[in-house]
Symmetry: C2
Subunit: 459 residues, 2 copies
C-alpha cells in the first residue's frame, strides 16, 4: 500500500549500478600501474596466508561440518586442508578462515577487510573453471574497487548504525569479481550486482563470535552465486544500488555517490590496502613496533627494570587491560603487546595464545610497563623508554607503525608473516614454494599449483 | 575506533534472542488450538500449490541452472520437477517458485509472506532427514511466529526504509523452524537465530524482477544453513537480535520489543495469515470479487452495456491502468480485474496472461468499466453496478473481499486455487492426491509421499 513516510530518499542518484557494471565488464586487463598490480599480489598473498593459518580453528571445523551435511561435490579446495567442496562452499570456508585471526588486510578509509569476500570467491571459481592467474588478479583489483568505493560512499554512517561493512559491501565486491572472471557482459554484470545488492551481510554485534569471520565468507558465497545466477539470465533491478528503495539508501543515510564515480578506472582502492604485522587491533601496533625496535637495539627482557609507554588516551581506553588472563584478553592489552614486542620482536597469532600470555616471564614483563596518557601523541604513534637494570635508558619513538600506509610491510615482512601462519600447517619448505607461487600468480596459466601447494601433504 | 555517533541505540531491550530461542526449543508439540493447527495446514497447502504452479517459470529455470553448476547432491526435491538437489538449494528454489506469482500467503499486519522462507526450508530438511509431518507442522507454526513477531516489532519503519520484510525476517523464521526440526537445544537455537540475524535479505527496489521471489528463497536457504551451523557448534552473539548493534536496531528505527514477547506461546501469528484468491495486488480483489458475484447472479459479458465501479482513491492510484497491453500491466489494472471477474468468475495466474489480456472481448469489456473515486468506500471494499443492454441494472457491494481475514478462503476455494496452479503441471488426478496428502500431513510419518506426489510422472 502507498503510504507517506518519514524516510528520506534521494531520487537523483547517478546510475551507479550501471556505471560499476560497465567498469567491471570493460576495464582492460591490467589497466593500471605496476604499483597497483604489485599491491594486488601482496593482498592476495596476505589473504592466502591468513586462510591457511586459521584452517584448523574450531570455527572452520564447525562450518565445514555443516557444509558436509550437504554432501558437496569436490570442486574447489578448502585452503590448508586436504578437502574439496563445491566452489560456493569453498568460498564460504576460505572467507571464514581468512578473517578468523583478524589478521587479514584492511582498507583503512573504511575498515573494510576486502580480500576476504573477493579473493575467497574468485579463487574457488578459478580453481573449478580453470581461469588464469592474470584473470584472477584482474578480478581481485576490480572486485575490491567495487566493494571499497561503495564503502567509501556510505562510510561512516553505514558502519555507525551497526553494519560490519566488510560483509555488507563484500557481497558486491565478490559478485563484481566473479562477474569479471565469468566474462559477463555489462547487462549481466549489472544483474549480478543487483542480485548481490539484496544480500548485505553482517552486524557489528557479532564481533567476538565466530559469526564475525562468517561475514566475509557468507559475502563471498553470496557474491559468487549472484554472478552464477546472472550468467543464467536471472534478473534484478538495474538500479539496485542507488534507487530510493535500493540497497545503499536502505542501509545508509549517508551516500556520497561521487565516491563511486570519481576517477573510476584511474584510481584503484586496492592502493589503500594495508596488512597487519601483528595479530591484534591496530591501535596497539605502534607500541609493539616500538618495543620490537628496543629489542633490535639490543635490549633484552631480563635487562629491563621498567618500560615507560606514552600513548594517546584512545589506546588505553580500547586496550588498557593490564592483567590479561588468556589470549583473547591479551588482544586488548597494550601491556602484553609491549611484552611480546620486546620478547619476540613481533606478535603474531602464536604470541597471543593462552600458553604464551600466561607464561611467568610475560606476566612479569607486563607488570614493568607503565603506561601514561599523552594526547599530544597521535593515536597512530607511541613513545617508549626502557630503563635498564644498570640505570641506562633506551628511547624509541614510532610515528607510523610498521603496516601503516606511511610505513608499509615490506615483501620480506609479508613473507615472514606468511611463514608464521603457514609453516605449522604446510611445513616451511612447502610454504616457501607457496609464497613463490603467490608472487608469480599474475603470470600463471591457472591457479592449480597454488591450491595444490596450499593443501597439506598426506602424512 | 571509538567514535561518537548520531545513531541512536536502545540499550535496555529485553533478551528477545534468548526468549525466542526458549520458545522455539521448548514449546510443546501442537501446543495450540485446533484452529491454529488447521491454519498451518492451509498455509502449507497454499504455499505448496504456488511452488508447484510456478515451477516452469524462467526464474526457476535460471536459478536451477546456477545451482546445477555446483553439481549438488540429490537430497531434496524441486517441487513440480523431476529433479533433486542438495537440501539448501531445494530450499532456495522452492522459496523462489512459491513467491514467483505473488500468489502466496500474506500476514496482513506486516505484508510478510511467511510460508516462502519457512516452509521451503523445513520441507527440504524434512525430506532429506525424514522428519514426521507433525514435526513439520510444529516447525511451520513456530517459524512463522518468529518471523512475524520480529516483523510486528519493526513494522512499518523497517518496510518504509526499503526492506522487503518477507526476506529480512524470513531468515529468522527459517532458522527457527529448522532449529526446531533439528531438535537443537535453547543455546544452540539462540546461536542459529544469531547466525541468521546477520543475513537479512531483500530490498523493495527489486519488486518487478526475479530477485523479488529470490528473497524468500535466499532466506530459506540462509535460515537452514544457520541452523545446520549452530548444530555443529558455530557461535554468534546471544543478543544478535536486540543489541544496539544487533540486527533489529541496525535495520529499523522502530522496535517494539513487546510485539515479540507479549502472549508468546499463547497467541500465534499464523492465525492472521491470509491467502489470495486472485493473482494480483490485494487492492483489486474487492472489485474482482464484486464482478464475479455479478456473474454468479447471471450477468454475462455480452449482456453488459456499462459497469460503474466506485472505489477508494487508492485503488485507482495503484491500479488505474485502463488499457493494459500485457499480463504484467494487467496486474495493475482494476479494469482488467473487473473484466476477468465477470468473464471467468475468478482471476488466477492464467487470467493475467498475455493471451487473455489482449483478447478482443477482454479489451472491449474493460472499456465498458467506468471507475469513480469515492473515499467514503473503504479501500478493502468495492461497489459495482452493471447496466445491461435491456436497461436493467444489477448491483453488488463487497465489504470484505474473499481472501480477507473477515471473509477467508474456504477449504474448497483453496483446493480450487491449488488445482488451477497444479493441474497443468501434475495433472488433475495427482493434484487431488497431493491436496489430500497436504490435509493429512499432520498425521503423516514423513513427508515422502507429499514430495513424490509433487513430482511429475515421467511422460
Amino acid at each position: 500500500m502507498a503510504r507517506n513516510t518519514q524516510v528520506t530518499a534521494d531520487h537523483n542518484a547517478p546510475a551507479v549500478t550501471q556505471i560499476l557494471a560497465k567498469f567491471v565488464a570493460t576495464h582492460p586487463s591490467k589497466g593500471w600501474s605496476d604499483e597497483v598490480d604489485l599491491e594486488a599480489h601482496r593482498t592476495f598473498m596476505n589473504w592466502l596466508g591468513c586462510a591457511v593459518g586459521a584452517t584448523g580453528h574450531e570455527a572452520a571445523d564447525a562450518a565445514l561440518a555443516a557444509v558436509q551435511v550437504l554432501q558437496p561435490a569436490a570442486q574447489a579446495s578448502v585452503l590448508g586442508r586436504a578437502t574439496k567442496v563445491d566452489m560456493a562452499s569453498a568460498a564460504l570456508l576460505n572467507g571464514i578462515t581468512s578473517h578468523t585471526f583478524d589478521f587479514d588486510d584492511t582498507h583503512l578509509k573504511t575498515i573494510i577487510h576486502p580480500a576476504g569476500p573477493v579473493a575467497s570467491a574468485i579463487l574457488a571459481l578459478a580453481e573449478h573453471q580453470n581461469y588464469s592467474g592474470r584473470e584472477v588478479i584482474d578480478a581481485l583489483v576490480i572486485g575490491i574497487d567495487v566493494a571499497c568505493r561503495v564503502g567509501n560512499a556510505m562510510y561512516p554512517d553505514h558502519y555507525d548504525r551497526g553494519w560490519h561493512i566488510t560483509g555488507s559491501t563484500g557481497t558486491l565486491g565478490a559478485a563484481a569479481a566473479c562477474a569479471r572472471l565469468l566474462k559477463l557482459n555489462e547487462q549481466q554484470t549489472a544483474m549480478a550486482l543487483g542480485i548481490a545488492a539484496s544480500q548485505p551481510i553482517g552486524m557489528r554485534e557479532q564481533f567476538g563470535t565466530m559469526t564475525k569471520p562468517f561475514h566475509p565468507g557468507a559475502a563471498a558465497r553470496a557474491g559468487l552465486m549472484s554472478a552464477l545466477m546472472a550468467q543464467q539470465g536471472f534478473t534484478a533491478s538495474p538500479k539496485a544500488l542507488e534507487a530510493p528503495r535500493g540497497m545503499m539508501q536502505t542501509v545508509s543515510i549517508k551516500n556520497d555517490w561521487r565516491e563511486i564515480t570519481h576517477e573510476l578506472g584511474e584510481r584503484f582502492e586496492i592502493s589503500f590496502n594495508s596488512y597487519k604485522p601483528f595479530a591484534c587491533g591496530i591501535v596497539i601496533h605502534p607500541s609493539i613496533d616500538a618495543c620490537a625496535q628496543l629489542r633490535a637495539k639490543g635490549v633484552r627482557p631480563e635487562q629491563v627494570q621498567r618500560i615507560d609507554l606514552r600513548v594517546h588516551s584512545l589506546v588505553l581506553e580500547l586496550t588498557g587491560k593490564k592483567e590479561p588472563v588468556d589470549g583473547l584478553q591479551a588482544k586488548f592489552s597494550v601491556y602484553h603487546g609491549c611484552a611480546a614486542g620486546l620478547t619476540f620482536g613481533f606478535a603474531a597469532e602464536e604470541e597471543f595464545s593462552d600458553h604464551i600470555v600466561t607464561r611467568d616471564d610475560m606476566v612479569a614483563l607486563r607488570r614493568k610497563v607503565v603506561a601514561t596518557v599523552d594526547d599530544s601523541i597521535d593515536e597512530a604513534s607511541a613513545d617508549v623508554t626502557a630503563t635498564l637494570t644498570d640505570g641506562s635508558k633506551v628511547h624509541v619513538f614510532v610515528e607510523h607503525a610498521i603496516g601503516s600506509l606511511q610505513n608499509p610491510m615490506t615483501q620480506a615482512l609479508l613473507e615472514g608473516k606468511f611463514h608464521g601462519l603457514s609453516d605449522p600447517v604446510l611445513g616451511q619448505e612447502q610454504t616457501t614454494a607457496l609464497i613463490n607461487a603467490c608472487w608469480a600468480i599474475g603470470n600463471a596459466a591457472n591457479v592449480q599449483s597454488i591450491v595444490q601447494l596450499a593443501t597439506p601433504k598426506a602424512p
